[in-house]
């Protein structure tokens, strides 16, 4: 029961309180780039969840059984980048062969995610926060879900922005950034949510 409680707390924290996009400001590039249309945003979100889980499953054992053992933890960043990049490529090749339908829907997003800092961020945070393997996976799932949530919310905001008529100097990216900031501000409302969860 205690473990389950711990998992729920980790999940809620990474989805809402420490949302990777809106509170930690990681993965802003796809957040701004692919959030124009709802179906693209959900596709990207699904791909990010998938890659985050894969990346955590691969990097946690490497950290624990390789880097920690040889006491070369300072190589974490470069090793994780290497592993994630190779992993995403591998997944893409396998998907293309066995699940062409999924490849067609995720295909264009997978290479984009390869160097996404949210993916690298979640794997490194798992280590820094001292999570065990199961907790790391839950945290990654939460981070992915949080990313998806942010994308879907912001796609809605952007569709409203399309028909808005901002001042000339705010058109395009500036007004998008301003509205992203306001959406991020709203996520401050979740601070303190987890502490009261099981009180």
């Amino acid at each position: 029961m205690e473990t389950l409680k711990g998992f729920i707390i980790i999940l809620m924290t990474s989805v809402l309180v420490n949302n990777y996009v809106l509170s930690r400001f990681l993965g802003i590039c796809p957040f701004l780039g692919v959030s124009k249309k709802l179906n693209q945003a959900t596709g990207m979100g699904a791909a990010v969840i998938f890659v985050m889980l894969m990346a955590t499953a691969a990097t946690w054992p490497i950290q624990t059984y390789l880097l920690d053992r040889f006491e070369i933890g300072y190589l974490r960043t470069i090793v994780f980048i290497l592993v994630i990049a190779a992993l995403v490529q591998l997944v893409e090749i396998v998907l293309k062969k066995y699940l062409p339908a999924l490849h067609a829907s995720l295909g264009i997003y997978l290479p984009l995610i390869t160097t996404n800092c949210a993916v690298l961020g979640v794997t490194i945070n798992n280590i820094n926060d001292g999570y065990n393997f199961a907790e790391s996976m839950v945290n990654s799932l939460g981070a992915g879900l949080g990313f998806l949530l942010a994308m879907v919310l912001f796609a809605g905001v952007r569709s409203r922005l399309e028909s808005a008529n901002p001042p000339k100097s705010f058109e395009g990216l500036p007004i998008t950034l301003v509205s992203a900031a306001i959406v991020a501000l709203s996520f401050f409302g979740f601070a303190g949510l987890v502490e009261g969860l099981f009180a």
């Binding site: 490497i62 390789l66 070369i72 190589l75 090793v79 290497l82 992993l87 062969k97």
Partner: protein
Amino acid sequence: MNEILIAALVVGGIGAICAVMLIAASKFFAVKEDETVGRLRECLPGANCGACGYAGCDGYAKALAEGGVKTNLCTPGADATAKQLAEILGVEAEEVVEQVAVIHCYGDCNHTAKKMEYEGIESCAAAKTLYGGAGLCSFGCIGLGDCVSVCPNQAICIENGMAHIDTRLCIGCGLCAKTCPRGIIELMADVERVLVTCNSRDKGAVARKACSNACMGCKKCEKSCPSGAIKVVDNLAVIDYELCDNCGSCAKVCPVGCILVSDFSGIHRYEVEKEPIAKEN
């Protein structure tokens, strides 16, 4: 020294393992791509205009390779492309009906006027939503150039307040016809054609007040036509090109002069040195 060695070995080792894995994966999981798709794709012009009805040239090439699709759907590529495609697929070549876009309007600034000053998004689609555009005529060209921006071959220009199509440059993809919010652009077989340059369905007097080039629906053309090809429907002369034999008698009797005889016979693609078609009477 030892620390550097271990670090280098670990990172190098992981890199090497990843590389081997990727190479093995690309060998074992290689997806065989149909070679004919690539060859077919090379024959296509690559304008990605969508005239064939598929999502770009890649889509058409793929559909062709899968079979059951006609080889003559690429209007920009015309006969030459159809022949190449047919050769690769080993089927008989079919002739492409070459098409050009024409505009059923001649309401430039000399013929019609504005009813208001429009200051908004420079787009016909947007202007149309605001009381039907700035022009007096609510059927004719708005002249903000939505067609210009979609044309893949820069064949359209806005001059004197309305769009003009240079039929020498037109590749017949029909993107402009799909884009025009007024629906005044039509694709037409690439031969000599009689053309009604008006789209106004207003009653004669109203239409004439808005534009001096407007069809009044007087039915003179209908009476003069020997083959019964031209009919006035909803106060507008419409030509049935199945019946029309391009005699031009309707153009002669039209009191407004909104029926033109134009020569589109292939000049848009092969004899570029010729003068552009003059639409003026």
